[in-house]
């Protein structure tokens, strides 16, 4: 096949046709020769037949001539008649010989002919010649005799007969030959048909083989071309050439076309990649650097540099270098005309050097260094203006494609460089204009502010000057009045002082009076008690049972009166400031024992359980007035036992869970606070009576006194004493379930100053009631800024909210409390607030989310929100401000700081 493949299609087709033509020639020759031989055979048969017939007839004639001649001679004796005889006699021999030759191949014929010849010779010898002789001799008798026996005629007839037979035989053999001829003709026809078939087959075979070899290569080429055409990016594929024919040439040509197309495509993609790369670059140096890096890679350059042309200085400054660190490789700048770079810039022509100067830079790699072999210097020109010069050094020669690509890249690069350059210029101008613009805006803003301020100032000035005038005119008048007023004021002041002193004195008088009265009352009462005791003892047994009973009543009433007087005394002492606590160390571990000693019996009598629990975390010692503490506790416990009919009374002593600050105590945080909780299962106190029961002579129900006895002063005194000791008394109660009175007392140092008694009770209840009650309780004070302002405190810890409520209410603000983010949203949806204090750390919805809601959903951008954050949490602050807080405050809240901030944010100007 390979040898066959080496043939061209022409050769293949010609050779194919030649083979077919050759076959046809052979066929024609065979047919021709066959026809010729057949012709010969037919000729042989017909000529042979004619000759045999003619010759036999000639011989017969000759015999007859001889017979006639002899007869004529015999009859006439004339010798002239002997002429035909002699001619016949010579001729038949000749004819015979000819006949022999004709039938030389027929042995049977020859045999017969010899028999005929013999007969003729016999005839001549026996009957002709003797007769002639006889005639010559004139022997007539002999002649007659010879004729009479008839021997000569018989012999001639026999010869004739023999010839007839001979001819018949010859005809017979001719017929046979014709039959054989026919048979061989049929064979020949069959042979010719077969031969024609063979030639036709060969021709078809050749045409098939030929067409197949041509078509195969064509198809291969077509399918490859199709493949390349269909798959766009597969430019690598080539037609595989197996043949050397015209198809092979076509494939070669196609491959060449593809090669050039691939190069073209490569150039195009590279060009477009470069164009893409240029996008977004805003700096010529960066542009140059990226261009150089990429172009060096494509050109296989080991070193490269780009020199940007500085138009105004006509100098080329290196903007980027490849395979170098920028500062080391290449000169920093060239003047136009200096060196190769300058030359290139000047001529704006590509300089391609293969002979590298000695001092040219060496290409260094990790393993060694060598000099580049080829240098390319290319000017970058845009619209006739030089932009830059590119220099590339390479070890390998630059290919035509690389150079063509480079040629294609230069124009876009030049354009991009021009664009970037102008953009940089625009940027520079823009930023300059922006700075100017900013400055202008600044000026405008300042101008505006200045104008506003000035307007205010001028207004003030105008007012001032008016005022001055009126002041001037009033001056005299005022001076006149002044003295009178001063005198009046002095008088009023003195009067006021007098009143104040009188008030103080009268208050003191009241207390002193009470104290004295109590003392004065106690003396006779004591005697009354002593004597009623005597009576009750009935030592003389003179009293009746009834009288004893009355004595008992007197004593009981007297005891009640005494405790009432004692209470009043205590109360007045506290109020008049006469009571000074006696601070000393007390042993808390002894407290349960003392309490049990006092009350277990009383409780047992009422069928109540009584328990004193000392929590393990309680310190052993605390500093306070033991007597007063016991007084308070006894008050609370006896109340508890008094108002409890079933169940138990339980006292728990422990270190306070709440801090002093939460309890609004006026002490340092450092002081330890001990809580004494007295819990009962008694009547309970309705919420609206919380405040009332702490007031003197009050009980929750007016009828209680009758049922339970008591003066109703106990709680009031306890409360006063608690304040005196710097503590606070809290009440939690549920009607019908029981009450808990919790006494919080700080451990004090011995040099402490007694606290002024003031109502300090706090009630854990709903904010609105708290606010109202406290508002009623406390006189409003402070500046007008806060007056009537509505504050919303958002804090999940109610205690914090309440701790803030009191001081805010004191300054005349309306306080609302929300204990969750949701509650805050509910309130804000209905009520308008002036300011919000927002705790950040809340469960469910935290402060950030609430603030976000206020700013974005409620769309209230102006509501001041003060975020309350954990101390030293900068992030919380930043986050709060970001979430919409106006300001922030760290825990624990310093009230002064809070008020400062609120003034800032409540300020409307």
């Amino acid at each position: 096949m390979p040898r066959y493949n080496a043939w061209s299609i022409q050769t293949k087709i010609i050779s194919g046709f030649l083979i077919i033509i050759g076959c046809l020639a052979i066929y024609t020759m065979v047919v021709h020769s066959q026809i010729y031989s057949k012709q010969n055979e037919v000729n042989v048969i017909t000529i042979h037949d004619r000759e045999v017939t003619s010759l036999t007839n000639q011989i017969e004639k000759s015999v007859l001539d001889m017979e006639d001649g002899v007869r004529g001679y015999v009859i006439t004796g004339d010798l002239l008649y002997l002429e035909p005889y002699t001619r016949g006699k010579t001729q038949w021999q000749e004819y015979f010989n000819q006949l022999y030759e004709v039938i030389a191949t027929d042995s049977f014929g020859i045999q017969r002919l010899q028999a005929v010849k013999l007969n003729i010779e016999n005839w001549i010898a026996q009957n002709v010649d003797p007769i002639i002789l006889l005639k010559k001799n004139n022997d007539e008798v002999g002649i007659a005799k010879s004729f009479s026996n008839g021997a000569g005629i018989q012999q001639v007839d026999q010869i004739r007969q023999q010839f007839d037979t001979f001819r018949q035989d010859e005809n017979q053999s001719t017929d046979n030959r014709i039959t054989a001829q026919k048979k061989s003709n049929n064979t020949l026809i069959a042979f010719l048909y077969i031969f024609a078939l063979v030639v036709a087959s060969i021709a078809i075979l050749i045409s098939i083989v030929l067409s197949r070899t041509i078509l195969n290569t064509l198809r291969k080429a077509t399918s490859t071309i199709n493949g390349i055409a269909l798959s766009n990016d597969n430019l690598e594929e080539r037609i595989i050439v197996t043949t050397k024919d015209e198809i092979g040439d076509l494939a070669h040509a196609t491959n060449l076309l593809l090669d050039s197309h691939q190069h073209q495509y490569w150039i195009q993609t590279q060009t477009s990649e470069f164009a893409e790369m240029y996008q977004g670059i805003e700096d010529t140096v960066e542009l140059a650097d990226r261009f150089l890096t990429k172009v060096s890679a494509i050109l296989n350059g080991q070193y490269g540099a780009i020199y940007l042309f500085q138009d105004n200085k006509s100098i080329l400054i290196k903007a980027a270098s490849y395979a170098g660190d920028g500062s080391n490789i290449g000169k920093q700048s060239f003047r136009v005309g200096d060196g190769l770079v300058g030359q290139c810039a000047k001529e704006k022509k590509i300089i391609h050097i293969n002979q590298i100067p000695e001092e040219y830079i060496k290409i260094e790699s990790g393993l060694g260094e060598s000099k580049p072999r080829h240098i390319l210097l290319v000017p970058v020109v845009h619209q006739g203006n030089l932009q830059a010069v590119l220099e590339i050094a390479s070890m390998e020669e630059f290919t035509v494609h690389q150079l063509r690509l480079l040629d294609n890249l230069l124009l876009p690069f030049a354009a991009a460089a021009e664009v970037v350059r102008s953009r940089m210029e625009i940027d520079r101008l823009y930023s300059e204009s922006q700075i100017l613009n900013n400055e202008l805006q600044l000026h405008a803003k300042e101008t505006q502010e200045q104008a506003e301020e000035l307007q205010v100032q001028s207004e003030e000035l105008r007012l001032k000057s008016e005022e001055l005038q009126s002041i001037n005119s009033q001056m005299q008048e005022q001076r006149n009045h002044a003295q009178a007023k001063t005198a009046e004021a002095e008088e009023a002041r003195a009067e006021m002082q007098l009143y104040a002193e009188q008030l103080k004195v009268s208050s003191q008088y009241k207390s002193e009076f009470l104290a004295n009265m109590s003392h004065e009352l106690r003396t006779p009462l004591n005697s009354m008690l002593v004597f009623s005791q005597f009576l009750k003892e009935n030592n003389n047994h003179t009293l009746t049972d009834d009288e004893l009973l009355y004595a008992g009543y007197i004593q009981n009433s007297g005891n009640d009166l005494l405790s009432l007087i004692n209470d009043i005394l205590d109360l007045s002492k506290v109020e008049s400031g006469k009571m000074e606590p006696n601070i000393d160390a007390i042993n808390l571990s002894e407290m349960p024992q003392i309490m049990e000693q006092h009350f277990s019996e009383l409780a047992a009598r009422k069928g109540l359980e009584f328990a004193v629990i000392l929590h393990p975390d309680t310190p052993n010692l605390m500093f306070t007035d033991e007597q007063r503490l016991q007084q308070i506790l006894k008050n609370l416990i006896s109340n508890a036992i008094k108002f409890t009919t079933i169940g138990k009374v339980e006292i728990t002593i422990r270190k306070a869970v709440l801090s002093a600050e939460h309890l609004e105590m006026q002490i340092d945080n450092s002081n330890e606070v001990i809580s004494f909780a007295v819990r009962d299962t008694g009547l309970g106190i309705p919420k609206d009576k919380y405040e009332l029961i702490f007031e003197s002579f009050q009980q929750a129900d007016g009828t209680i006194e009758r049922n339970y006895g008591g003066t109703g002063l106990g709680l009031s005194i306890s409360n006063q004493l608690t304040t005196l000791l710097g503590g606070s008394l809290l009440l939690e109660s549920e009607l019908g379930v029981g009450s808990i009175f919790t006494l919080y007392l700080p451990s004090l140092s011995s040099d402490f100053e007694p606290f002024e008694a003031a109502p300090t009770v706090e009630i854990l209840s709903s904010p609105v009631t708290v606010q109202q009650e406290i508002q009623e309780l406390l006189p409003s004070e402070g500046s007008e800024v806060f007056q009537g302002k509505r504050v919303l405190i958002v804090d999940d810890d109610k205690r914090n909210a309440i701790a803030l409520t009191v001081p805010l209410t004191q300054r005349g603000m309306k306080v609302f409390v929300a204990d969750s983010g949701k509650a805050c949203i509910n309130i804000l949806e209905q009520e308008k607030m002036d300011i919000v204090l927002m705790d950040i750390m809340m469960p469910e919805m935290n402060g950030y989310q609430v603030m976000d809601w206020i700013r974005n959903t409620l769309q209230d951008a102006n509501l001041p929100i003060i975020a309350v954050t954990a101390k030293a949490m900068n992030q919380d602050r930043e986050k709060s401000l970001a979430a919409g807080a106006s300001d922030y405050l760290s825990k624990p809240i310093q009230m002064n700081q809070l008020f400062s901030l609120m003034r800032v944010w409540l300020n409307k100007s």
Partner: protein, 271 residues
């Protein structure tokens, strides 16, 4: 005409505004004229001669008294991060705030130094051309409404605690804590004519020079160079920079973004 007015002002008040940015001066005068209802500069000139109050008003017009606490918070933040650590190396720190206006930025600097524990060894001199502004600044009290956004600036400037801890209020004004107000010395000082007052480690002159023309700017930069400790810092406003080549010799960039410069002590002014 403007030259004439400026010369009159110079003669009457002693303040020379001839080297101020001419556009700025023109804008200010035009504003004043429209506020006072004057039709042209001649009337204004006449009024200046007659009315000392107007002269004073115009002098205030010229000095821009727009300032806020921790103005441009990022400057204070970067100052805190980058400059403070260097200042900590000095046994005492002299700070000059030139063109302090009503003193907000001087107070801000004092607060910053206090939080960095440097206030005790720092002395802050704050000066302005306007006596009125200086006396306002000295009082250390600010209208309540101005305080509203200072917390945000303070926080953005890297403030560590509550800004509200530094002041107390009454119904009209906020008063800075005495520990802050007492650390600043306010003086009237004219950058145009007055000379160096000390050697400082930090000179703040923010958004002042933008109102000067380039020759006055150069003069002021020279003054700063002469007043700066060899390791000292010059802080300019975010809108300005040392543009003139000559001024560039005096200083080198320390933080270009925040316009903080270091003294270039290789170059000595005057020599």
């Amino acid at each position: 005409m403007i030259d004439l007015i400026l010369e009159t002002i110079h003669r009457l008040s002693g303040f020379d505004y001839s080297n101020y940015n001419r556009n700025h001066i023109e804008r200010r005068l035009n504003l004043r004229m429209s506020l006072e209802g004057f039709t042209d500069l001649t009337v204004l000139l006449n009024e200046i001669n007659l009315n000392p109050l107007l002269l004073n008003t115009i002098l205030n017009d010229f000095s821009i008294q727009v300032t806020t606490m921790f103005r441009d918070p990022l400057f204070f933040l970067d100052f805190r991060r980058n400059v403070i650590p260097i200042l900590k190396l000095f046994p005492e720190i002299y700070v000059w705030h030139a063109g302090c206006s009503t003193g907000e930025e001087a107070y801000s600097m004092a607060i910053l130094l206090k939080e960095e524990g440097l206030l005790e060894r720092a002395r802050i001199y704050a000066t302005d051309i306007s006596e009125e502004a200086i006396s306002k600044a000295r009082m250390g009290k600010f209208s309540l409404y101005r305080m509203k956004n200072y917390s945000k600036n303070y926080s953005a400037a890297g403030g560590e605690i509550d800004f509200s801890e530094y002041y107390s209020t009454d119904d009209k004004y906020a008063y800075f804590d005495p520990s802050i107000t007492n650390s600043i010395y306010f003086h009237q000082h004219n950058l145009v004519v007055d000379g160096s007052i000390n050697e400082f480690h930090v000179i703040l002159c923010r958004n002042v020079c933008i109102y000067f023309n380039s020759s006055l700017q150069k003069h002021v930069h020279q003054l700063f160079h002469a007043s700066l400790h060899n390791e000292g810092f010059l802080c300019l406003g975010d809108q300005e920079s040392i543009i003139s080549l000559e001024s560039k010799k005096y200083f080198q960039e320390f933080d270009a973004k925040r316009k903080i410069y270091k003294k270039n002590d290789h170059f000595r002014s005057g020599s």
